[in-house]
Subunit: 429 residues, 4 copies
């Protein structure tokens, strides 16, 4: 159920090092500030992931002697069981502990993890919790990338950068038809998964069509150009309120460039690329685009069935089978592209029904509310289970998702108005 | 598909008269005020339902010559297609048009409806729209009851009042088991239904248990007494925020009465009645109770299958079959009880699997998000379709629901924090 | 110090009747609504002034047996000593007590006042308090006029209406020079005055110029036309914030009329009248106009010295001497004009130094903060004394001020951003 | 009118060095954060004071070639004439320019000032503006001390620290009587002064009593212990609102210590010292204390007359005469005490009428609104003149005020609810 002991130790070490790598090029000031209530300072991310490691160690080992940081309300995100957390929106008002102290703390926890990981029995409770804490750190790496884009955009100097693959010549927007019927969804064993991906269970699907690619910037720009943001008829009522209150005119980070649009992100300030998946759109925008286009968003189960092979046999862990992601199949954090790749760049990652780029590039909004699966059992208090309701499920991962922490059953969730994440969508009918 | 012409005319006339009956005992001041942003003045309800009638007439008959009120932004609730509505939270700041003018307007529209209803072809577009406007008026009668309870509670003098039926002696909280499998849900024809109840379609259910009765005040008081409102562990994160911001300590309208609780509603200020269904609780409270009790809320489809007979054969319109509700089967508006009846009061209304009081008494929260059924087609712009998402489905109707406008496929929806409606719940497992 | 016993009884009776007259033409709905947080429903004014009468009776006579309304938190404006007042901004959400009940209450208190007034010793404590309560009712008559203008404007049907006097032909904007030195200000005896007008004391004034007339709509329209509301340089920082937050483009109730301006008030919707004093401007607007015009507002003592005759001799109660106002000297509530009169309409009301229309028409903003005079002693707890600071003094009275309750020492006060009152200003240098 | 050229250059150099000294012991994180909307990050202060120097240089010398920082909206506090300033409450959300860059900028401006100061004609416009910019930097040094106390309190490591003088044995609270009459107030020449201190003019004062010392912690603790913060009768209405909204129970930085009080400031966390002047109280608290004690606050002119010698002869620059402050006369920033000294510590600083510690230790609230003196002429746009009204004048300086920038005519001003400044008060009658 869990990785072998040695494998876990190695994976944790890699994850810890990756976090340090992401902040290695920052100025001291960058470590400290919070540029919006929904972002966090990099030093906070570094401290918090270590704090969670200590929290799970203490759950697993009553004799563990915690560091002084273990009691910090500042590093507590929202665990009421661990005391009264510092308010999320005020993480940028904290100068002490300093970034230097928190980086030191990150190192200290890494050192302490060494012997603990060596002793953790594979499949035991300690191993399960430590593995969870590692995946938790992966989640925060991704959030840190979002936050650094918000703070620095093209001023962020990535630790390294790769060239995107050349898209396949046959890539142009099209749909495939998927047969309905009973489909098994959810994680059924093999590799790590969160409690919310379980238990595997059957759902009944009608026949449906789904797009081969996520919606691109070029497609989305047509919607914008057609007055998409000024006509209430495309929008849910809550979405229309969000448009007006936020004065939205286009996806986040898009900027007018004469009569055209530019985007300003870690890849620079540049004209939008027509066949790059659109990202940093809210659920409301995804939904409005679909209504304008005469389409709809897929449910999370339609998405999953299209990704994992649908009705027959044991569904696979990934669109391409059970093998782990690599740079030829998916644009994930380790690919170091720092932006989505153009559609058609990963023919090797196609699913059985022919959908491409389902993993990596952009998280894909689905129409499903984040809710427990039938028979859900909480694996960790307050981690996922107190967030059910009021959020929408996203599937697939983004160019900021660590490869070690993604699979086709992964359920991400955000509020429908949020859009600083690397979220896009794919249409269904 | 629609009622016969004469039937419709009669139903409309009855509905129009009922609205007038509900306000017949009010003081002039009561007609005008708005006691919370989520309520509306009675004069507004009276005007708005007539305004909607005019709106649908104009859609059906281009030659109709509207009254001057037809252009009123004040009477427009939220139809952006009909201009810019007056802000909902400021309906109590409007002195003109006066209550007298709006009651006169209600009468004028009733008079104008006479010939129009006579000419409307059964099954035609005009008939369909007029029927919708009638059901819309039924909805506002119910809202008006909520609003009058908020404004006046026991100072509201009902136009008439009936005694509640004596509960059956065998009534005590218990569960029944329902077999899962494929079940048909949604409205499949026969009688009126809103667009959001269609199309009928199949869903896959696992086996489940469901309570015979809604949760009672006595049961809920145990939760309250056990510190239910002071322990975050029972609550969703958003729910816990609502508890603290709203300083909730018990259901709305409950008041401390020494060491016990009283409730103040249209039936008076009185100690809570142990075997009366609890009401005026939010989704968050229903959900927290369930978690405390080791239960969960049913999905809307579990609820519907338990109400309509489940897997086999054509599902019925009501728990007791296809016959319309009457006072021996359900506590609805026409029963004139003005409060829920004690559990066990309607053995004649039981469903095939043995659930009682599924229709009437209290709307029942389900865990399902309000979302379109597969293949949904909008029947009227901005009426239901712009509200998908962010709300939860409630089923069954309350003691303020008009009998003419309820059925087991009816999907009501409210935000999870709202609780001035007559909403309760029933547990599942 | 106080009027003779019979005179007081008569004055109270007149005041009570005037309040009833002002609401005599209203619709029932008008009595109930509150159209802004800073206004109050007419029924509230009627009830509150009676509640204050009962409060002062109880202070003066411990044996008085109060009505049930005397304990109403709703009718308590802000007297913490009398319990916990109903929130001011929610007076429009109250349907009970009804308008009918509050008018009945007003009548009941009037009846009860009869014997009490007959017994009150002239100059005694009871007489002093009753007289205060009468002047308090006068203040609320004026507030009621502001509130009715806000609610109804030209839809208000006044109980009677008079034609304005013809302005004198010599009237055109000009200034007079006033010699400085020691001046006696404040109320020194003779007739009623509030505690805040006392004690009379000396101040030192430099020489100054002051305008003969209040600033007119024509003058103010030049400021507006010259971009006055779009150039921050004319404004105090707080004022500029108010302009942008309130989206102010002109005085309250001014409406664009093509390239010109109209005003909508109780006198109808009509083009602004060039030589009518401008009103419904905030302190910030008055101050900005002055800066634009190279002028400044007078201090309250400069205003008072210009009005009462300045340095020599005993200062008079009014600009024209000690005689009471009448319709040939001042446009006050009893004149029934319902709007300011054109400048030059009251040559008979001129002060010794030549200033006209200092009493009536519009309250005049001064640059003085509302603060106690040296040696101030509170005459009534929480009535005036808890409002010192953060407000500016206005002098002179408006067309809605009852003649019985104005004099040249009267100090009105409002927050600098408020502008629904009938406030204008006069320039100094 | 201005200091000699060499003197100015030296004073500017000293001031620039002092700013660098104050931040010399900070961690990098401390430079960046903003702990409340009314504070600013230290790096911002360092940058802003340099930005203002560049702004005045550009006003004085059209040929000056500004640095790139000169156009920074972030460094613009509120000068609309210099573009659109970055919002004050969001200064802590800015990582670039970095602290390192802003310290470099501070150095660069200091270097550029060298030749400019050498060339500035004494008494010329450039000299006047540069001197103003130097005093502006002094003001920000003081604000920086407030902000560092808010951020770090006893964790701030001062660049150096001195021991407080021993108080004189005759020091116990008492009042002196001051004769009224005509008094000259305001700056009449000799040394630097801001525009708002001018012109000197006469005012008329009644006789009054004034305390020899500011109110002490011991005296204030009696007010607190007597229920001062729970009885509305001591408070202005706006003050009472502030108490409840801010949940005030004592001065800022006071903390309950069993049945007693401690204070947490740069001098450590320590029991309150009975004969230390109380500080970090709002105007409302000062006013409420006075009402409780049967006293009142002095006007700013009563304060000034008591400080400068009152009616006869040319009023002095300081209570002790025209000589500059030194450590034997006043506790100012250069004394390095970082807290007020006990009353009686500076007998050498007494005024002619016997008042002590009028300069230094704590700013003293007066009852006077911040308003222009008669004949005021603005010396610099938007610097002081757009803040008239809505604020109260404080006199005297605090332990964080630079000695180079204080005198008895100095008028400081803050909103009546603000209390993070080192503000106390002295009673009058």
């Amino acid at each position: 159920m869990t990785e072998q002991r040695a494998g876990l130790a190695e994976a944790v070490a890699r994850t810890r090092a990756e976090t340090m790598g992401l902040v290695s090029t920052l100025e001291p000031d960058d470590m400290v500030v919070q540029t919006a209530p929904y972002t966090s300072p990099p030093k906070w991310h570094a401290g918090h992931v270590s704090w969670v490691f200590e929290m799970v160690i203490r759950k697993a080992d009553a004799s563990y002697s915690p560091t002084p940081m273990a009691g910090s309300p500042y590093l507590n995100s929202y665990y009421l069981g661990a005391g009264s957390p510092h308010p999320k929106g005020e993480r940028g008002a904290v100068s002490r502990p300093t970034a230097a102290e928190l980086l030191e703390y990150h190192g200290e926890v890494t050192r302490r993890l060494g012997p603990i990981l060596r002793e953790a029995r594979a499949g035991g409770e300690a191993g399960r919790l430590l593995e969870m804490a590692m995946h938790h750190e992966c989640q925060h790496q991704e959030l840190m990338v979002y936050d650094l884009q918000h703070m620095l955009a093209s001023r962020y100097e990535p630790p390294s950068r790769a060239a995107p693959p050349e898209p396949s010549p046959r890539a142009r927007p099209r749909s495939v038809r998927v047969r309905g019927g009973r489909a098994t969804v959810g994680h059924g064993g093999g590799g790590y998964a969160y409690d919310i991906e379980m238990p595997a269970h059957e759902v009944l699907l009608a026949d449906y069509e789904i797009d081969v690619f996520p919606v691109t910037c070029g497609q989305y720009a047509e919607f914008v150009g057609d007055g998409g943001y000024t006509d209430y008829r495309h929008w849910l009522s809550d979405g229309w309120d969000a448009v007006r209150e936020g004065r939205w005119e286009a996806p986040m980070y898009w900027e007018r460039d004469g009569s055209s649009w530019a985007v300003h992100d870690m890849a620079g300030r540049r004209p939008i690329v027509d066949d790059e998946p659109v990202r940093c759109v809210s659920y409301y925008e995804a939904d409005a685009y679909c209504r304008w286009a005469g389409r709809r968003l897929p449910t999370e189960f339609e998405w999953e069935a299209a990704a994992r092979g649908g009705g027959g046999g044991r569904p696979a862990a990934f669109p391409w089978g059970d093998g782990p992601p690599d740079a030829s199949r998916a644009n994930l954090l380790e690919s170091r592209l720092w932006a989505p790749a153009r559609v058609g760049s990963y023919p090797g990652g196609a699913s059985a029904c022919g959908c491409e780029q389902m993993i990596g590039d952009v998280w894909e909004w689905t129409s499903s509310e984040f809710a427990p699966y039938p028979g859900f059992e909480s694996g960790f208090d307050e981690y996922n289970d107190k967030w059910f309701g009021g959020q929408k499920v996203l599937r697939g991962g983004s160019s900021a998702t660590p490869a070690a922490s993604i699979r086709a059953t992964y359920r991400n969730f955000f509020r429908p108005h949020e859009r600083w994440m690397f979220a896009g969508f794919r249409c269904a009918r």
